[in-house]
Symmetry: C2
Subunit: 105 residues, 2 copies
């Protein structure tokens, strides 16, 4: 799982347009061009967003002939959620779970 860094994942999830893309991908894998047809932004803008999402492991590219479709990785979301859950649950006990993320990453 490499868990990776957690903060960049939240940064990636902190953009409305990227959620629109994720929502669109929820209805089936799609290419940047296909997404550009459904969303009010240019193909290149979407390509950049997809690069960001891929960087943090929220999305995965799949070559299909000449086009590149993207698939959402639900497990990544779940894993992130679980880590966040842990932090929130243990906060009141004043455990240093947060420090790990803030420093150790």
């Amino acid at each position: 799982m490499t868990t990776g860094t957690l903060v960049p994942v939240f940064a990636a999830l902190g953009d409305e347009t990227r959620w629109s893309i994720l929502a669109a991908l929820g209805e089936g894998d799609a290419s940047a061009s296909a997404l550009a047809g459904r969303l009010p932004v240019s193909r290149q803008a979407i390509a950049k967003h997809l690069a960001v999402l891929q960087e943090v492991g929220l999305v995965e590219p799949v070559r299909v002939g000449r086009e590149v479709r993207y698939r959402v990785i639900g497990a990544r979301l779940s894993a992130t959620a679980r880590r966040l859950e842990t932090i929130g649950a243990e906060w009141d006990r004043r455990l240093a779970a947060i420090k790990e993320i803030a420093e150790g990453l």
Copy 2:
């Protein structure tokens, strides 16, 4: 709970400095000035971060005499985590849970 909008919460969690602040607050409530003594940023920068965190309900101000201490709201993190968990878990079933967030907000 008002659930509120979810995306801004992620945006708030997408900054390293804010995690440092949350980590520091995890060791006990503290004011902006007190935090400025422990972190390598100015008091005003911290004040802005605290405003952001408060805006999305991750933190709560508590007046103590002339100073304003801030307390982390662990429940907010847990609630956010649970919503994220739901989305991740149901993604594979292609449910439109995401659409609610991306559109309804």
